[in-house]
C-alpha cells in the first residue's frame, strides 16, 4: 500500500513537477483553442457538402469523412509529422498536430452537424425561402441555430473527445500536458506526475462528462 502511494501519489514529486505540468496545461489549452474552432469549421463544411443536393459534392464528402473516421488519429499525426518530411515538407509539431486533428475532427464534427441538418424538416427551408430569405440567410438564421441545438450534447461530447485527443501531441514531442508529465516521470522514475496530469484532465473534463450524462437522462425519461 505504502509502495502504491509512493509510486502514484507522491506529493513531493507532484509539487516538484507542478510548474512543468502547468506549462504543459497551457500548451494543451493552446492546442484546444486552435483545433476546436478549426474542427468545428471543417465539420460544418463537411456536413454541408455531405448533405448537398449535388451528388458530385455529396459522395466525395461522405467518402472523405468515412476515410478519416477509419484512420486512427495517431496514424494520421505520424503520417503528417514523420511521413511528409520525406517529400520535403517539414512541419513543426504544432502545425502537424493542427493539420492531423483538422482532418480527424472535421470528419467527426461533420457527422454530428450532418445529423443536426437532417433533423430539420424541409418545411423550415420552405417557410424561410417563402419569406424571401436567400439560401445562405436561411442556413445561418433558421437552419443552423436549430440544428446546432438539436445536436448540442453530441457536439459537447465530441469536444470532450477532442480535448482528450490533444494528449496524442505528446507522441510528436509537443510539450503539452501529457508530454510534460511523462517527461517528469522519466526524470523522477516515479508515476506521480502522470497521476497529477490525470487529475488535471479530470478537473477539466469531469464536470462536462457529468453534465452530459445528466442531459442524456433527461431526454431519455
Amino acid at each position: 500500500m505504502d509502495q502504491l502511494i509512493q509510486q502514484f501519489f507522491n506529493i513531493d514529486i507532484m509539487v516538484q513537477a507542478l510548474p512543468t505540468i502547468l506549462r504543459g496545461l497551457g500548451m494543451t489549452l493552446l492546442i484546444c483553442a486552435v483545433v476546436i474552432p478549426l474542427g468545428l469549421a471543417g465539420g460544418l463544411m463537411a456536413a454541408l457538402a455531405s448533405t448537398a443536393r449535388s451528388r458530385w459534392l455529396r459522395w466525395p464528402a461522405v467518402a472523405l469523412v468515412d476515410l478519416f473516421r477509419a484512420i486512427p488519429p495517431l496514424v494520421l499525426l505520424i503520417f503528417v509529422y514523420a511521413g511528409l518530411p520525406f517529400a520535403g515538407i517539414r512541419l513543426s509539431p504544432f502545425v502537424a498536430v493542427a493539420i492531423a486533428f483538422l482532418l480527424n475532427n472535421s470528419s467527426y464534427y461533420g457527422e454530428v452537424f450532418r445529423a443536426g441538418l437532417i433533423s430539420i424538416g424541409k418545411g423550415q427551408w420552405e417557410a424561410a425561402r417563402s419569406t424571401g430569405l436567400t439560401q445562405r440567410q436561411t442556413l445561418t438564421h433558421v437552419i443552423l441555430p436549430q440544428a446546432t441545438r438539436n445536436v448540442l450534447p453530441d457536439l459537447i461530447s465530441n469536444t470532450v473527445e477532442v480535448v482528450k485527443l490533444t494528449s496524442l501531441a505528446s507522441v510528436v514531442s509537443l510539450g503539452e500536458l501529457l508530454h510534460a508529465a511523462d517527461l517528469a516521470r522519466s526524470v523522477t522514475y516515479n508515476a506521480s506526475p502522470l497521476t497529477l496530469a490525470a487529475g488535471v484532465y479530470l478537473v477539466l473534463l469531469w464536470p462536462v462528462v457529468r453534465l452530459l450524462s445528466r442531459y442524456q437522462r433527461r431526454i431519455a425519461v
Binding site: Q3, L4, Q7, F8, D66, L67, R69, A70, I71, P72, P73, L74, V75, L76, I78, F79, A82, G83, L84, F86, A87, I118, V160, E161, K164, L165, T166, S167, L168, S170, V171, L178, A181, D182, R185, Y189, N190, A191, L194, T195, A197, A198, Y201, L202, L204, L205, W206, V208, V209, R210, S213, Q216, R217, A220, V221
Partner: protein, 227 residues
C-alpha cells in the same frame, strides 16, 4: 525526376512495400486480435454494469458511475502510460499488449455502460409493468424483456464508440505493442522511406472502413424506424 515520380518513390515505393509488407501484416493480426478482445470485453463489462445499475443499489451505482466518469474523462494514453510505467514499480508487471487491452477494454466498458444504461432507462415503463404483471421477476424482466430492446436501441451509438476505441489500439505503439503502426514506424526508420506509413494507413482503412460504413447504415436504419 518528375514530381509524381518523386511522390511515388517516397510514399508508394514498390521495393520498400514488398520488403515490409510481411511485418505490417503481422501488425495487422495484432491489431485485429486486440480489437476483437477489446470489443468483447468492453461491451460485456459495460452491459453487465448497466444491468447491475438497474437494481438501483445506491453505493453500487455510485461506484459504477465514478468508474464510468473517470474512464470517459481521461485520455486513454494517460492511463496507458500510467499503467505501463507505474505498475512495474509496485510489483505488477504486465506486457504492453495486456496494458493496452486492459485500459481500452475498461474505456469501452465505461462508454458502453453509459450507452446501455441510457437504453435501459428509455425502455417504455409499460414493458416493465406488463412483464411484472405476468409474474416475471425483476431480473427476468431485465434480461428477457428490457435488455433485448435496450441493446437494439443502442447498437448504432455503441458501434460508433467501439470503432473509435478499437482504433486507439494504435496508441499501443507508444509502449511498444507490435501493432500496425508500430511495425510501420519501425519499417519507416529502417528503410528511410515513408511508404510503410502509407501501407499502415491503407491497412487501417481496409480494416475499419467496412465498420464505419456499417455504422452509417445502422444509423440510417435506426433513424428510419424512428420516423
Amino acid at each position: 525526376m518528375s514530381n509524381l515520380d518523386r511522390f511515388i518513390e517516397t510514399f508508394l515505393n514498390g521495393a520498400v512495400l514488398a520488403k515490409y509488407t510481411p511485418a505490417i501484416l503481422q501488425g495487422v493480426w495484432v491489431t485485429i486480435e486486440l480489437s476483437i478482445l477489446i470489443v468483447i470485453a468492453g461491451t460485456l463489462l459495460g452491459t453487465s454494469l448497466a444491468c447491475i445499475r438497474a437494481y438501483r443499489l445506491r453505493p453500487v451505482s455510485f461506484l459504477i458511475v465514478i468508474y464510468a466518469d473517470i474512464f470517459r474523462a481521461l485520455p486513454p494514453l494517460v492511463l496507458i502510460l500510467l499503467a505501463y510505467f507505474g505498475l512495474p514499480n509496485v510489483g505488477v508487471t504486465l506486457s504492453s499488449s495486456t496494458v493496452l487491452f486492459v485500459i481500452l477494454g475498461l474505456t469501452l466498458g465505461a462508454f458502453a455502460e453509459e450507452i446501455v444504461w441510457a437504453g435501459i432507462t428509455s425502455t417504455d415503463k409499460g414493458q416493465w409493468e406488463a412483464a411484472r404483471s405476468t409474474g416475471l421477476g425483476f431480473t427476468q424482466t431485465l434480461i428477457f424483456v428490457v435488455l433485448p430492446q435496450a441493446v437494439r436501441m443502442v447498437i448504432p451509438p455503441l458501434t460508433n464508440r467501439a470503432i473509435a476505441i478499437t482504433k486507439m489500439t494504435a496508441l499501443g505503439t507508444v509502449i511498444g505493442v507490435p501493432d500496425i503502426l508500430n511495425q510501420a514506424t519501425t519499417a519507416q526508420s529502417f528503410s528511410g522511406n515513408a511508404s510503410p506509413l502509407t501501407l499502415a494507413a491503407v491497412a487501417y482503412v481496409v480494416l475499419f472502413l467496412p465498420f464505419v460504413i456499417l455504422s452509417r447504415w445502422l444509423e440510417s436504419r435506426f433513424a428510419w424506424k424512428k420516423g
